[in-house]
């Protein structure tokens, strides 16, 4: 199992905007390079991408939660 860690401190979002579906749902397969969420740092938005592929993503950090750099966002099998 791998973990996807936050590259930045800020607020985590699971979708591109509030009226969009989440980039990934729990249980989704993930390819390397897929966007799995956004981090808002000081009003600027940065995409978080999976570095490796996996068959089952499970989010640890909820939508709109504060997050520190290096903290786990999701587990990935």
């Amino acid at each position: 199992m791998a973990q996807i860690l936050s590259p930045l401190p800020g607020t985590f979002y699971r979708s591109a905007s509030p009226d969009q579906p989440p980039y990934k749902a729990d249980g989704d397969a993930v390819s390397a390079g897929d966007v799995i969420g956004l981090i808002e740092v000081m009003k600027s938005f940065h995409e978080v991408r999976a570095e490796t592929a996996g068959t089952n993503i499970r989010f640890i950090t909820d939508n709109e939660d504060p997050i520190m750099a290096g903290a786990p966002i999701a587990d990935l099998d």
């Binding site: 607020t11 740092v41 009003k43 709109e64 504060p66």
Partner: protein
């Protein structure tokens, strides 16, 4: 006089408002998110209330939590600062509806100026020059074609409910216009739930000049203008007063037009009327009115000696304007630069972190508005403004020399900031003579990327 003030904001502006209130003997209540418990505004206020988690939506934008904090602490008034809820008409209404005083204009005034079409109509009705274009909403493509006689090409098609650069299309010819207009209608409807459009001529190279007004609901005065032409992505980075581009005659005309608008809409509090100034045509055009205290208000305070935030509090407390127009005069020149937690060497990437070392500039003509202290952890959740450095001197040239002196005194250790940008700008020949426009900085940044990276 207000009895007890809740400051519904954070950062340097919350500190600024708390100071003004305390100078007037008004007790203050700070509100803070869980991320700001140790921040300076919480330390300086007489009381402080935790209003929620770090995300602004759950704290600084949470109207119910702010109203509850005001009730629980016995406040009779709320100052919104800038940003967050400052130009939210429903917030102003909610404060007033709860029997409290909102330090700012009525919800109706905020609504009128927030809608681009109604603001433009109000300005035109008050005799303020607006960018040539449609009188109001454009009712269909045929009506749009008629407006082209006013605007020529290129023409901007804007969503009435848009703003901040969203919902704008530019057409260079009739063919482009006929294609773009229906598209803009569909887009505006999808994006804003309102397909209303208006049209404006594209003004070429122009300066951003704005007039500070103070008003008490019946009378209004101006405190002269500021020039904020140095912008990056439509965000001001360097502001000064007065503008060296204006003749005395045009300055009087510009400032009088802002007062006329403030009086026409029965404005109350501090406000700013923003204009584009076209040097070549020697003409100015209304853009919008901001119904709040602005980030760059200290340059006006420096050249006029007026404490704008204190005057806002007095007016909100029921006093009439104390200052007559004839008493407002300009002394010297002031410049403000915005020190942001951003790395100019890396395309201004945000840089939250801990302030390891802090040396604050001082001496004659130097003001430093900030929430920083040594050891402060800059949270990643809010905007990147750390401090405003304001210098004042007899002339613009002397102010720039003083700005360089003060920037060299300033040390913010542990963070990347925009300080190197301002040292480079202060040394630039075009900035030295004030030969700039609103798109000048974007080009300069591309040409000088290497210098900023080093």
């Amino acid at each position: 006089m207000l009895k007890k003030l809740l400051v519904a904001n954070r950062g340097e502006i919350a500190v600024r408002i708390i100071r003004a209130a305390q100078d007037l003997g008004i007790p203050t209540v700070a509100v803070y998110s869980a991320a700001d418990a140790g921040s300076l505004h919480v330390q300086l206020a007489d009381e402080a209330v935790n209003i929620g988690p770090p995300a602004a939506k759950k704290s600084y934008l949470n109207v119910e939590a702010i109203l509850k904090a005001a009730r629980d602490t016995g406040c009779d008034s709320v100052h919104p600062g800038y940003g967050f809820l400052a130009e939210n008409a429903a917030f102003s209404d909610a404060i007033t509806g709860a029997g409290l005083v909102f330090v700012g204009p009525s919800g109706d005034a905020i609504r009128m100026m927030g809608d681009k079409v109604s603001a433009r109509s109000a300005a035109a009705a008050a005799g303020v020059p607006v960018v040539p274009g449609s009188a109001g909403r454009v009712d269909g493509l045929e009506a749009g074609r008629e407006v082209l006689a006013e605007t020529g090409f290129p023409v901007m098609i804007k969503a009435a409910a848009g703003g901040g650069g969203r919902g704008i299309r530019i057409a260079d010819s009739l063919a482009e216009f006929e294609q773009a207009f229906p598209q803009a209608e569909t887009e505006a409807l999808a994006a804003f739930g309102d397909g209303g459009l208006y049209m404006e001529k594209v003004v070429g190279q122009a300066r951003h000049i704005e007039v500070q007004v103070l008003a008490d609901g019946s009378d209004a005065i101006h405190c002269y203008e500021r020039e904020c032409s140095l912008q990056r992505r439509r965000q001001k980075v360097w502001e000064e007063a007065p503008s060296r581009a204006l003749s005395d005659r045009l300055r009087e005309e510009l400032c009088a037009s802002a007062v006329a608008l403030a009086k026409a809409v029965k404005y109350s509090g501090a406000g700013t009327v923003e204009y584009l100034y076209d040097d070549e045509a020697d003409r100015f055009y209304f853009i919008e009115m901001n119904t709040r205290i602005q980030v760059e208000h200290p340059v006006t305070e420096a050249i006029t000696g007026i404490d704008l935030v204190a005057e806002m509090l007095r007016i909100a407390g029921g006093e009439k304007l104390r200052i007559r127009q004839g008493d407002v005069s300009v002394k010297g020149h002031a410049i403000e630069v915005r020190l942001n937690a951003e790395d100019p060497a890396k395309e201004f990437a945000p840089f939250p972190g801990q302030v390891a070392e802090l040396r604050i500039p001082g001496g004659p003509g130097v003001r430093f508005d900030s929430m920083l202290f040594q050891g402060y952890q800059v949270p990643p959740f809010y905007d990147s403004l750390l401090a405003k450095l304001i210098v004042h001197a007899e002339t613009r040239e002397a102010a720039i020399v003083r700005l360089i002196r003060a920037l060299n005194e300033l040390r913010i250790g542990g963070l990347k900031t925009t300080k190197p940008l301002f040292l480079a700008l202060a040394a630039d020949p075009a900035v030295r003579i004030g030969d700039v426009h609103t798109r000048w900085l974007e080009g300069w940044l591309i040409e000088n990327a290497a210098a900023l990276a080093g």
